[in-house]
């Protein structure tokens, strides 16, 4: 276990593993996502209450789910940066923060567009929506802070602290629909209960969630590799790699 942990700290080792994983992540993730979205758009039955507007769920839920998961992963990365000073953890945090911001924006945007025909309004300052907006600002903060400090070590530590402070927002997002009276409907998937929708609806939703997770994995590997190429530019293995084409 410790050996794997130490190996994970080696950018060279990670670069190789990522190159092997990336085609799998992409070529399983894209068909899964497209199958889930195609099924959800054209074949899943209409919702008895919301009509066809509910089909937005097949992109809204995966985006929102992943937006929060990415933040939790970043918080783990932040903790590892602070405790073990592992460079790769900071590489991960900086590489995925923009992807997390885009996913959060997508969750907010699709939610707003879904809200118009369902609730009659694009936006309301309700607990779930507001806490998601705070998540978006936290992502912006992480990106800005990382870019503002040029010293690698200070930047890593400052970003790690910000990410860890912001993680308090995640349970607030999760339980906002239970703690407060909100317009937002409760969770669609719960680990302890059966889904509240028929299989024709939750299977495509699950496919889109899995597909988007895998595509995120591919993006994270790609962006981490780029960050490693920049940081380790002076090492011999990166020079050899660049001369060979960079893969």
């Amino acid at each position: 276990m410790w050996q794997i942990f130490h190996k994970l700290g080696s950018p060279k080792w990670f670069f190789g593993i990522a190159s092997t994983l990336m085609p799998w992540l992409l070529w399983i993730g894209v068909p899964l996502l497209l199958a889930g979205l195609g099924w959800g758009l054209a074949f899943a039955p209409q919702d008895y209450l919301q009509g066809n507007s509910y089909r937005i769920i097949f992109i809204h839920v995966p985006s929102a789910f992943l937006a929060q998961s990415v933040y939790i992963m970043m918080a783990v990365g932040g903790l590892v940066t602070l405790v073990w000073r592992m460079k790769l953890a900071d590489v991960f945090v900086k590489a995925v923060a923009p992807v997390g911001a885009v996913l959060t924006f997508l969750a907010l945007f699709t939610g707003a567009v879904w809200g118009k025909p369902t609730w009659g309004t694009w936006w309301i300052w309700d607990a779930r929506l507001t806490s998601m907006l705070i998540l978006l600002f936290l992502y912006f903060g992480v990106i800005a802070l990382g870019a503002a400090i040029s010293d690698e070590k200070s930047s890593a530590r400052a970003v790690a602290v910000l990410v860890l402070v912001g993680v308090v927002n995640i349970p607030i997002i999760k339980y906002s629909v239970e703690w407060w009276n909100t317009l937002h409907q409760p969770a669609t998937f719960k680990l302890t209960e059966k889904p509240s929708m028929p299989a024709e609806m939750w299977v495509p939703l699950l496919l889109s969630v899995l597909g988007l997770y895998l595509i995120f994995g591919w993006l994270a590997c790609l962006r981490m590799q780029t960050e490693i190429l920049v940081r380790e530019g002076r090492t011999r293995w990166v020079k050899q790699l660049v001369q060979a084409g960079g893969n």
Binding site: L41, A42, N52, V102, L106, T110, W114, L222, L229, V242
Partner: protein, 75 residues
């Protein structure tokens, strides 16, 4: 298929604009992130290669003009 015709699939009983706008923006932004990430990687590799191809900086500096910048410690 949940719809009777292609037209019904597009209009979705009035909800079409909402649903299609979401899917359009989703693919647009995800596509942009992928495109941007790939371009950034190509740019970094090209930059590293240029740096390796060019001779070291000190060989280019004119003879006799050698200055050393001293940065006093701020601590």
């Amino acid at each position: 298929m949940a719809f009777d015709s292609f037209g019904a699939f597009i209009t979705m009983e009035g909800h079409g604009p909402y649903v299609w706008a979401c899917y359009f923006v989703f693919f647009l932004l995800m596509g942009a992130v992928v495109f941007w990430s790939l371009r950034q990687r190509r740019f970094v590799i090209a930059q590293q290669r240029r740096r390796m191809d060019s001779p070291p900086m000190r060989d280019q500096s004119p003879a006799g003009a050698s200055f050393t910048r001293i940065e006093p410690s701020q601590d």
